[in-house]
Amino acid sequence: MTTERARPNYVAVWVWLVVLMIAGVLASYLPFAKSAVIFLVFVVAATKALLVALYYMHLRFESGLIYAMVIVPVVLVIALTFLLFPDLVFHH
Protein backbone atom coordinates (compact mmCIF):
# COMPACT_ATOMS: atom_id res chain seq x y z
CA MET A 1 0.00 0.00 0.00
CA THR A 2 2.55 2.54 1.07
CA THR A 3 5.30 1.50 -1.33
CA GLU A 4 4.05 3.41 -4.34
CA ARG A 5 3.45 6.89 -3.15
CA ALA A 6 5.88 9.76 -3.15
CA ARG A 7 7.18 10.44 0.31
CA PRO A 8 6.92 14.04 1.50
CA ASN A 9 10.11 15.76 2.50
CA TYR A 10 9.94 15.36 6.26
CA VAL A 11 12.78 17.77 6.98
CA ALA A 12 11.22 20.56 4.93
CA VAL A 13 7.99 20.14 6.88
CA TRP A 14 10.00 20.36 10.08
CA VAL A 15 11.60 23.63 8.94
CA TRP A 16 8.14 25.02 8.27
CA LEU A 17 6.98 23.93 11.68
CA VAL A 18 9.87 25.63 13.41
CA VAL A 19 9.42 28.82 11.42
CA LEU A 20 5.73 28.85 12.29
CA MET A 21 6.45 28.24 15.92
CA ILE A 22 8.80 31.21 16.06
CA ALA A 23 6.24 33.26 14.17
CA GLY A 24 3.62 32.31 16.73
CA VAL A 25 5.77 33.32 19.65
CA LEU A 26 6.68 36.61 17.99
CA ALA A 27 3.08 37.30 17.06
CA SER A 28 2.10 37.10 20.70
CA TYR A 29 4.25 40.17 21.34
CA LEU A 30 2.72 42.25 18.54
CA PRO A 31 1.26 45.56 19.69
CA PHE A 32 -2.16 44.89 18.15
CA ALA A 33 -5.51 44.56 19.84
CA LYS A 34 -5.59 41.52 22.07
CA SER A 35 -8.24 39.70 20.09
CA ALA A 36 -6.28 40.17 16.86
CA VAL A 37 -3.15 38.75 18.45
CA ILE A 38 -5.02 35.75 19.81
CA PHE A 39 -6.57 35.15 16.43
CA LEU A 40 -3.16 35.26 14.76
CA VAL A 41 -1.56 32.95 17.30
CA PHE A 42 -4.26 30.37 16.83
CA VAL A 43 -4.20 30.55 13.07
CA VAL A 44 -0.50 29.73 13.32
CA ALA A 45 -1.17 26.87 15.72
CA ALA A 46 -3.87 25.45 13.48
CA THR A 47 -1.54 25.60 10.49
CA LYS A 48 1.11 23.72 12.40
CA ALA A 49 -1.36 21.08 13.48
CA LEU A 50 -2.54 20.74 9.93
CA LEU A 51 1.01 20.29 8.67
CA VAL A 52 1.68 17.53 11.19
CA ALA A 53 -1.60 15.81 10.43
CA LEU A 54 -1.30 16.03 6.66
CA TYR A 55 2.34 15.08 6.26
CA TYR A 56 3.55 13.30 9.36
CA MET A 57 0.31 11.44 9.91
CA HIS A 58 -0.10 10.98 6.12
CA LEU A 59 -3.64 12.24 6.22
CA ARG A 60 -3.13 13.58 2.71
CA PHE A 61 -2.80 10.07 1.43
CA GLU A 62 -5.64 8.48 3.35
CA SER A 63 -9.12 7.41 2.39
CA GLY A 64 -12.33 9.28 3.09
CA LEU A 65 -13.14 6.99 5.98
CA ILE A 66 -10.13 8.17 7.95
CA TYR A 67 -10.86 11.78 7.09
CA ALA A 68 -14.32 11.33 8.57
CA MET A 69 -12.80 9.87 11.72
CA VAL A 70 -10.74 13.03 12.12
CA ILE A 71 -13.26 15.65 11.12
CA VAL A 72 -16.27 14.42 13.06
CA PRO A 73 -14.69 14.64 16.52
CA VAL A 74 -13.12 17.99 15.71
CA VAL A 75 -16.51 19.37 14.69
CA LEU A 76 -18.11 17.90 17.80
CA VAL A 77 -15.54 19.45 20.09
CA ILE A 78 -15.98 22.85 18.50
CA ALA A 79 -19.76 22.56 18.74
CA LEU A 80 -19.55 21.53 22.38
CA THR A 81 -17.32 24.48 23.21
CA PHE A 82 -19.57 26.96 21.49
CA LEU A 83 -22.70 25.60 23.11
CA LEU A 84 -21.04 26.11 26.49
CA PHE A 85 -20.59 29.82 25.80
CA PRO A 86 -24.01 31.17 26.78
CA ASP A 87 -23.91 29.30 30.02
CA LEU A 88 -20.35 29.65 31.21
CA VAL A 89 -19.00 32.75 29.50
CA PHE A 90 -21.86 35.22 29.20
CA HIS A 91 -23.63 34.61 32.49
CA HIS A 92 -22.08 37.46 34.45
Binding site: M1, V25, K48, V52, L65, M69, T81, L88, H91
Partner: protein, 189 residues
Protein backbone atom coordinates in the same frame (compact mmCIF):
# COMPACT_ATOMS: atom_id res chain seq x y z
CA UNK B 1 -19.67 1.46 -0.79
CA UNK B 2 -20.49 -1.66 -2.84
CA UNK B 3 -17.19 -3.45 -2.70
CA UNK B 4 -16.81 -6.96 -4.01
CA UNK B 5 -13.24 -7.81 -3.17
CA UNK B 6 -12.20 -11.36 -3.90
CA UNK B 7 -11.19 -12.27 -0.39
CA UNK B 8 -12.57 -9.77 2.04
CA UNK B 9 -15.25 -7.16 1.69
CA UNK B 10 -13.42 -4.95 4.17
CA UNK B 11 -11.42 -1.98 3.03
CA UNK B 12 -7.76 -2.41 2.23
CA UNK B 13 -6.63 -0.29 5.17
CA UNK B 14 -4.70 -2.12 7.84
CA UNK B 15 -6.89 -3.02 10.82
CA UNK B 16 -4.31 -1.52 13.12
CA UNK B 17 -4.56 1.79 11.37
CA UNK B 18 -8.34 1.91 11.57
CA UNK B 19 -8.12 0.98 15.22
CA UNK B 20 -5.59 3.66 16.03
CA UNK B 21 -7.57 6.33 14.23
CA UNK B 22 -10.70 5.42 16.14
CA UNK B 23 -8.71 5.60 19.34
CA UNK B 24 -7.38 9.00 18.31
CA UNK B 25 -10.91 10.17 17.59
CA UNK B 26 -11.82 9.48 21.20
CA UNK B 27 -8.61 11.16 22.33
CA UNK B 28 -9.57 14.25 20.36
CA UNK B 29 -12.78 14.28 22.35
CA UNK B 30 -10.90 13.88 25.63
CA UNK B 31 -8.45 16.69 25.06
CA UNK B 32 -11.09 18.69 23.22
CA UNK B 33 -13.42 18.46 26.19
CA UNK B 34 -10.66 19.61 28.50
CA UNK B 35 -9.53 22.43 26.22
CA UNK B 36 -13.13 23.52 25.66
CA UNK B 37 -13.69 23.64 29.42
CA UNK B 38 -10.52 25.67 29.77
CA UNK B 39 -11.56 28.13 27.09
CA UNK B 40 -15.00 28.79 28.51
CA UNK B 41 -13.69 29.01 32.06
CA UNK B 42 -11.03 31.42 30.96
CA UNK B 43 -13.38 33.64 28.99
CA UNK B 44 -15.86 33.51 31.83
CA UNK B 45 -13.37 34.73 34.43
CA UNK B 46 -10.82 37.49 34.47
CA UNK B 47 -7.19 37.95 35.33
CA UNK B 48 -5.91 34.75 33.81
CA UNK B 49 -3.49 36.49 31.49
CA UNK B 50 -1.75 37.86 34.53
CA UNK B 51 -1.39 34.36 35.91
CA UNK B 52 -0.17 33.05 32.58
CA UNK B 53 2.54 35.69 32.56
CA UNK B 54 4.27 33.78 35.35
CA UNK B 55 4.98 30.94 32.93
CA UNK B 56 8.23 30.92 31.04
CA UNK B 57 7.68 31.32 27.30
CA UNK B 58 11.31 30.63 26.26
CA UNK B 59 11.45 27.33 28.14
CA UNK B 60 8.13 26.26 26.67
CA UNK B 61 9.23 27.35 23.21
CA UNK B 62 12.32 25.18 23.49
CA UNK B 63 10.13 22.33 24.64
CA UNK B 64 7.87 22.85 21.65
CA UNK B 65 10.90 22.67 19.42
CA UNK B 66 11.95 19.41 21.09
CA UNK B 67 8.55 17.86 20.55
CA UNK B 68 8.31 19.04 16.93
CA UNK B 69 11.72 17.58 16.24
CA UNK B 70 10.74 14.31 17.86
CA UNK B 71 7.78 14.16 15.50
CA UNK B 72 10.19 14.47 12.60
CA UNK B 73 12.45 11.70 13.86
CA UNK B 74 9.42 9.52 14.44
CA UNK B 75 8.18 9.93 10.91
CA UNK B 76 11.68 9.28 9.65
CA UNK B 77 11.67 6.03 11.59
CA UNK B 78 8.59 5.11 9.62
CA UNK B 79 10.36 6.20 6.44
CA UNK B 80 13.17 3.83 7.35
CA UNK B 81 10.67 0.99 7.72
CA UNK B 82 9.27 1.72 4.32
CA UNK B 83 12.72 1.72 2.80
CA UNK B 84 13.58 -1.47 4.66
CA UNK B 85 16.41 0.13 6.56
CA UNK B 86 16.60 -1.49 10.02
CA UNK B 87 19.57 0.61 11.07
CA UNK B 88 17.79 3.86 10.34
CA UNK B 89 14.74 2.56 12.13
CA UNK B 90 16.71 1.91 15.29
CA UNK B 91 18.51 5.23 15.15
CA UNK B 92 15.39 7.27 14.65
CA UNK B 93 13.40 5.41 17.27
CA UNK B 94 16.22 5.96 19.70
CA UNK B 95 16.32 9.67 18.88
CA UNK B 96 12.56 9.95 19.33
CA UNK B 97 12.71 8.34 22.74
CA UNK B 98 15.57 10.60 23.69
CA UNK B 99 13.71 13.72 22.59
CA UNK B 100 10.60 12.57 24.40
CA UNK B 101 12.59 12.16 27.58
CA UNK B 102 14.11 15.59 27.06
CA UNK B 103 10.62 17.03 26.79
CA UNK B 104 9.60 15.42 30.05
CA UNK B 105 12.81 16.57 31.69
CA UNK B 106 12.24 20.17 30.70
CA UNK B 107 8.61 19.90 31.79
CA UNK B 108 9.70 18.58 35.16
CA UNK B 109 12.12 21.49 35.49
CA UNK B 110 9.28 23.88 34.68
CA UNK B 111 6.99 22.28 37.23
CA UNK B 112 9.59 22.44 39.94
CA UNK B 113 10.43 26.08 39.33
CA UNK B 114 6.74 26.99 39.27
CA UNK B 115 6.04 25.12 42.48
CA UNK B 116 9.09 26.79 44.01
CA UNK B 117 7.62 30.14 43.02
CA UNK B 118 4.45 29.19 44.87
CA UNK B 119 2.22 28.21 41.98
CA UNK B 120 0.64 24.85 42.73
CA UNK B 121 -2.54 23.27 41.38
CA UNK B 122 -4.54 24.87 44.18
CA UNK B 123 -3.23 28.41 43.63
CA UNK B 124 -6.15 29.25 41.39
CA UNK B 125 -8.29 27.94 38.59
CA UNK B 126 -5.74 28.86 35.92
CA UNK B 127 -3.11 26.80 37.66
CA UNK B 128 -5.49 23.91 38.19
CA UNK B 129 -6.12 23.82 34.48
CA UNK B 130 -2.46 24.32 33.70
CA UNK B 131 -1.33 21.37 35.77
CA UNK B 132 -4.20 19.13 34.70
CA UNK B 133 -3.79 19.79 31.00
CA UNK B 134 -0.02 19.60 30.85
CA UNK B 135 -0.04 16.69 33.29
CA UNK B 136 -2.45 14.68 31.18
CA UNK B 137 -0.38 15.53 28.14
CA UNK B 138 2.82 14.49 29.88
CA UNK B 139 1.24 11.15 30.75
CA UNK B 140 0.49 10.69 27.08
CA UNK B 141 4.08 11.52 26.20
CA UNK B 142 5.20 8.96 28.74
CA UNK B 143 2.96 6.32 27.19
CA UNK B 144 4.39 7.17 23.79
CA UNK B 145 7.95 6.85 25.08
CA UNK B 146 7.18 3.43 26.49
CA UNK B 147 5.64 2.31 23.21
CA UNK B 148 8.60 3.57 21.25
CA UNK B 149 11.02 1.89 23.61
CA UNK B 150 9.18 -1.37 23.12
CA UNK B 151 9.41 -0.92 19.36
CA UNK B 152 13.07 -0.11 19.68
CA UNK B 153 13.71 -3.33 21.57
CA UNK B 154 11.73 -5.25 18.98
CA UNK B 155 13.65 -3.60 16.19
CA UNK B 156 16.91 -4.60 17.81
CA UNK B 157 15.74 -8.18 17.99
CA UNK B 158 14.93 -7.85 14.32
CA UNK B 159 11.27 -8.69 14.72
CA UNK B 160 8.78 -8.33 11.92
CA UNK B 161 5.39 -6.60 12.06
CA UNK B 162 7.04 -3.24 11.77
CA UNK B 163 3.78 -1.69 10.62
CA UNK B 164 3.47 -0.94 14.31
CA UNK B 165 5.98 1.86 13.80
CA UNK B 166 3.43 3.65 11.68
CA UNK B 167 0.75 3.15 14.32
CA UNK B 168 2.97 4.35 17.15
CA UNK B 169 3.86 7.29 14.93
CA UNK B 170 0.22 8.27 14.50
CA UNK B 171 -0.17 8.36 18.24
CA UNK B 172 3.07 10.27 18.75
CA UNK B 173 2.13 12.93 16.21
CA UNK B 174 -1.27 13.28 17.82
CA UNK B 175 0.37 13.97 21.16
CA UNK B 176 2.51 16.52 19.37
CA UNK B 177 -0.58 18.21 17.93
CA UNK B 178 -2.12 18.44 21.38
CA UNK B 179 0.97 20.28 22.54
CA UNK B 180 0.83 22.56 19.52
CA UNK B 181 -2.48 23.80 20.92
CA UNK B 182 -1.59 23.73 24.59
CA UNK B 183 1.43 25.93 24.00
CA UNK B 184 -0.43 29.02 22.77
CA UNK B 185 -3.44 28.35 24.99
CA UNK B 186 -1.41 28.36 28.17
CA UNK B 187 1.66 30.38 27.40
CA UNK B 188 1.02 32.85 24.62
CA UNK B 189 -2.27 34.50 25.46
Amino acid sequence: METTAATRAGTDILPGKVGVWWFLASEVMLFGGLIGSFIVSRLGSSGWSGEAAHLSVPVAAINTLVLLTSSMTMVMAFGAVEKGDPRGLRTYLFLTVLLGLTFLGIKAYEYSSEVAAGFTPVTGLFWSFYYTMTGLHALHVLAGIITNLALFVMARRGLRNQHRVELAGLYWHFVDIVWIFLFPLLYLT
